[in-house]
Symmetry: C2
Subunit: 318 residues, 2 copies
């Protein structure tokens, strides 16, 4: 008999719920603002109601519920450990709450991890068993797929690729996220402007350098501003070095790169690919590996949560 699952995306801004079949087609999709400031006491009942409605509308019995949430997850209890965008949800055992409420097995994964699953099973990395997903936006996160499954490690905390050390020079130690995410674009531009480099960025923020964000730098880069282009190239290179590191560690056949900063397209991807190619010890690491943009849009987390649910059911059977 056909099996369907509920996919849930609890985001800092939007909550999305849908029913998905094993081809990851969506049914009964619903979406609401999270209104995270209201806290879990208000938001959680609304989310449970959305799930209940979806289950009631489904023409097929629901075998499992997959949930995507921000931040680290405690995999045994399905608790949200430290969600940066969900104040008050700290240590909320969302997986257990949902499971007990509906009497259906529920599985929780963090948003970047389930996005990796989504890209592998329905997006840019279909057919790849060894794939790495990187999201470059306000922070840098990701998910690592090995032999078709998420790498979670001994306690479920693996895949946090934004926190790998990229700079260890005497007392200066810094990470991929600190050096290359959106805010790093802004900091890079400000530092160069303070060194005396001319840039249209100064006018764009009315001379207020504390207003130089990654978004502003990205806009200036798309307008051809040389300093902004330099900043984007710098971030692309740093991500490329991290990709080279991960090519040696994981030898994947594809990297999928998503997140807001990737809207800059080749301005980011070109230096990224060149830095990775220049720093592998053997061409085989680079030549047999693609580096591509993410293919899925706003439903990526719903789809990934559904993949997680189907895979977890399968594991329970095995």
């Amino acid at each position: 008999m056909e099996t369907r699952v509920v996919g849930v995306d609890l985001g800092g801004t939007r909550m999305r719920v849908a029913i998905l079949d094993s081809d990851y087609h969506l049914y009964e999709r619903a979406e609401e603002p999270t209104r995270a400031h209201e806290g879990p006491a208000v938001t959680l009942p609304r989310l449970l109601k959305m799930i209940e409605t979806a289950i009631q509308k489904s023409e097929v019995p629901i075998a499992a519920i997959g949930i995507s949430s921000p931040g680290p997850i405690e995999p045994n209890t399905g608790a949200i450990v430290a969600p940066p965008n969900l104040p008050g949800w700290h240590n909320t055992p969302l997986g257990r709450i949902v499971q007990e409420r509906f009497g259906i097995p529920a599985f929780l994964g963090n948003d970047a991890n389930v996005a990796a699953l989504a890209e592998v099973y329905k997006g840019a990395a279909i057919g790849h068993k060894h794939a790495i997903y990187i999201t470059v936006s306000t922070g840098i996160g990701g998910g690592i797929v090995i032999d078709g499954k998420l790498l979670l490690g001994a306690y479920g905390l693996g895949g946090e690729l934004g926190h790998i050390v990229m700079l260890a020079d005497g007392e200066r130690v810094s990470t991929l996220e600190l050096e290359a995410a959106g805010p790093a674009l802004g900091r890079y531009a400000v530092r160069r402007i303070q060194e005396g480099v001319q840039s249209r960025i100064v006018d764009m923020v009315g001379g207020r350098l504390d207003a130089v964000s990654g978004k502003v730098v990205g806009q200036a880069a798309q307008q051809g501003d040389p300093l902004a282009l330099e900043a984007v190239e710098h971030s692309g290179k740093i991500v490329g070095y991290a990709i080279a590191s991960m090519m040696h560690l994981f030898n994947p056949s594809i990297f999928v790169v998503g997140g807001g900063v990737t809207s800059l397209g080749e301005l980011l991807f070109k230096p990224m690919r060149e830095a990775a190619r220049a720093h592998v010890i053997d061409p085989a690491y680079f030549d047999r590996c693609s580096i591509v943009p993410a293919a899925l849009g706003e439903d990526v987390a719903i789809i990934g949560a559904a993949v997680l649910a189907f895979q977890s059911l399968q594991l329970q059977v095995d």
Copy 2:
């Protein structure tokens, strides 16, 4: 019926062969100098003879042959791809040769990868399903064990942790191996001596700075020379930063660190642990993970090759 395998360690200096049971006890152990300069035309027949003798002496039929060799491996053909210590062996399909010669399934793994398996199944990491082995000597290599199995990636080239980028500062890009292996100890000391720092190292090499090796720096450190201690501390820190990176990526429950440089003991391990602890985003990454010295001695590769053989047989059955 009891199953036994042959474990083969083809090293740059020594060749070792033994029979092993599934508890990794050794029988009929034999060892000879490799005499790598004579090339595979002379060495390979000697190695095959050693394997043949072991098989003939075994009281129990041999189910498989596991082989450890230096350098990258092409896992499908069992070929040694680019062995730094075995001139002339480039692209030798050793796995296939052994398998066809004896009519017994043969499996080839690189020495650092199989050492990781050995430490997990018979050494310092027994009982750990998620473990990372790092060897710090003339180079830095390792093996990554996930859910009890080696991480090899899409094409068998994974686990090369010595080549992760640790420094990306403008035009200066450098790797873990270049910054922290034995030769880096020597380079660090020479640079500081040239900056005017006093050290007994200068006398130890009769003033010839080009003779300052990692070994000399290690000896000076054990004698309490402040500059040598600083160099060892620097290497330890760099390895510690890399460990922090891998804690975020893999969330293992143990790191096993071996190789010649670890004979310096706490001089290396203390800064290594401190650097790792200082650079995890959450204490759970460090607190739930041990960093310990390797436990196995010169038979580590034989044992690891045997683990590989038993695991590969199991996979064929599954």
